[in-house]
């Protein structure tokens, strides 16, 4: 196992799948000659050429639609969004076409498409570039959504997404690209879609999180253990749709407490869905009401210190956990 960055892990996944299957190509703004706005595809154009790495003009509806049309014909396009916030420009293609074509054709058409790129806030780029649309995308039956939080998951989920016969959105986290971690070298290493991961075992409280929030939860869990002898279990959803409900339920039944952390806005957020699940399946096991931490319900703030307050950071998670356990702060 090599220690590589989250960015490198995604690049390795793309390279391996390009080599494995001639139907795989990557298309997006600045993905080829410029080497990727976030350098995720750095070096791939030099290695695989114009056919497999395609620089698209700034026209999301055009090239996402092109991706869908070519996927209908059996190609496996990986479409990069320079920022996931730009997916709204092509919302018609993403939700009217990608999510519905299999259904409306009575199963005659498949759309083996991946749409990937950096999502989430935390980089001080203001409201237009900081969206976390995973809850919106997950709202459409026909689409799958994954949010890797570690390099290994980034590689494994990306490979699974490319091999999947349904349209999958892979939402990477901008602030995680430089993070290092151990990643298996096996070319067939995949992380199955729809399988959550217990990133830390604990007995006092379950934190359910995805994406960057997982790291915040782990940081909080470490401090809660060291300073307060509180053992937090951290469940990383990894996949938003399909959703691994059993892992969540098992953990909450064990700890009796659930704290849901997400960078999404609270209204109609993923935490609302998980909260519903827990009240329905774990009601008798709960020792405290389910708590939620989300981004503060406003468009993303530009000013760096204020954006930091807007997003769920470790100190907030610690405070909420102590409240749930009636521990004096």
């Amino acid at each position: 196992m090599a220690v590589i960055t989250y960015r490198q892990a995604i690049k390795d996944a793309l390279a391996e799948e390009i080599m494995r299957d001639e139907n795989v190509f990557v298309m997006g703004e600045e993905v080829a000659q410029y080497n990727g706005a976030y350098k995720v595809t750095e070096g791939l154009w030099a290695r695989f050429g114009d056919k497999r790495l395609v620089d698209a003009p700034i026209s999301e509806a055009g090239f996402i639609g092109l991706g869908i049309g070519s996927a209908m014909m059996g190609l496996r396009p990986v479409i990069e969004m320079m920022f996931f916030s730009f997916v709204y420009v092509a919302w018609d293609q993403a939700v009217n076409n990608a999510s519905s074509l299999r259904y409306m054709s009575g199963g005659k058409i498949n759309v083996p498409l991946v749409i990937r790129g950096p999502a989430n806030g935390g980089t001080n780029v203001g409201a237009t570039h900081s969206h976390t649309p995973e809850n919106l995308v997950a709202n459409f039956p026909g689409l799958k959504v994954v949010c890797p939080a570690t390099p290994a998951d980034a590689k494994g989920l990306m490979k699974a997404a490319i091999r999947d016969n349904d349209p999958v959105f892979v939402m990477e986290s901008t602030v995680l690209y430089g993070m290092e971690g151990e990643v298996p070298d096996d070319e067939d290493f995949i992380v199955p879609l729809g399988k959550a991961d217990v990133k830390r075992e604990g007995k006092d409280l379950t934190i359910v999180a995805h994406g960057r929030s997982v790291l915040m939860a782990l940081e909080a869990a470490k401090e809660l253990s060291e300073k307060h002898k509180i053992e937090v279990e951290v469940v990383d959803l990894r996949s938003i749709r399909p959703l691994d409900e059993e892992t969540i339920i098992k953990s909450v039944k064990k700890t009796g407490r659930a704290l849901l952390v997400e960078e999404n806005k609270p209204y109609c957020g993923i935490g609302a869905q998980i909260s519903h699940l827990i009240q329905r399946r774990c009601f008798d096991y709960l020792d405290a009401p389910v708590h939620r931490i989300s981004a503060v319900d406003a468009p993303a703030f530009y000013s760096p210190p204020v954006e930091k307050v807007q997003l769920p950071e470790a100190p907030i998670i610690i405070r909420e956990a102590l409240d749930m356990l009636n521990v004096k702060r």
Binding site: G62, L66, N96, P141, N165, G194
Partner: protein
Amino acid sequence: MSTETKDQAAQAKQDLFAHAKAPINQKLTAEQKIKLYTDMVRIRKFEQAALQSYQKGKMGGFLHLYIGQEATAIGTISLTEENDHIITAYRDHGHALAVGMTMNECMAELFGKFTGCSKGKGGSMHYFAPEKRYWGGHGIVGGQTPLGLGIAYALKYRGLKGCCLCYLGDGAINQGAFHESLNLASLWSIPVIYIIENNRYSMGTSQARSSAYPEAGLASRAEGYNMEWDRIDGSNLYEIRAKVHVAMERARNESRPMILEIDTYRYYGHSIADANHKKYRTKEEIEDYQNNKDPISVYQQILVAEGVLDEDKIKDIDSAAKEEAKASVDFAENSPYPPAQELLTDVYWTTDNPGQHSNQGRMFFNDRLPWDDEYQA
């Protein structure tokens, strides 16, 4: 008829026969010519039967009739070869029948029956037959234009010599997705042919009120993208075939995109929702087209003059198509509705193919299903 319109009619008539001499039309045998005629009549009879059924309350949703535009679907699709593909918008019945979908599966889809081409999940706007290289049937104006580009992109990617015919209405030319598609098609030399079926109205809004500079021709927008374009009389099957054939050969051999604008007309409203389509156009305008430019009458005239068709044959074709359409109504009528459980099939390949793929986690978020015993009680 004024002298002027008489002159125009004479001119038009001359043009009809001019295109009969195009090589692609000269190759047609008498049998093939009759088949083209029959296929147009079949579309019309199907649409008439669909309209009657709609009026009897047999189906839901919208119904976008193709009557008046038959020569476009038949003229263009009769030119397709094994690597050519077709995609269209919501006025899709004509193209569906032209590619060889049966009246039964098409009518049953309108009735929302399980025997419909999309199992009753798509309706009028969403017919599909990928095995016939027919990719639908798309409900959002202009939304199919980048998909057609993608289909043609896949042909080029695989090194196949073919093209994609992507149909759109005149209203779609003002959609952003269409302009993005044109830029990409020309930039990357993709063999897609955009066929604007210009029936003069985007729903109830005339071209003068919806498109800037309509007098230049809608297809002339191609020039801004360094693409070739042409305008075709949509009432003349031979002209359609002659000009579209040239475009398709070019797309296949040079991998260049093109826009073709086919001037046509619809006799009914945009859909059943504006059945009172006379609000935005005059009775005279509709009758003028029906009397002088009807694509079936025009072609019939040509074939009679060529000695291919006679009165008896015309009657036979007419009644056979009528019978076939009536039988499709009976078929639809007698077919079952889809079971409610069909709500949860064809959403994901994964859930329809358990065991063939890693299929973990929950995919659908229904607490209870309407067909569960718990819910019934």
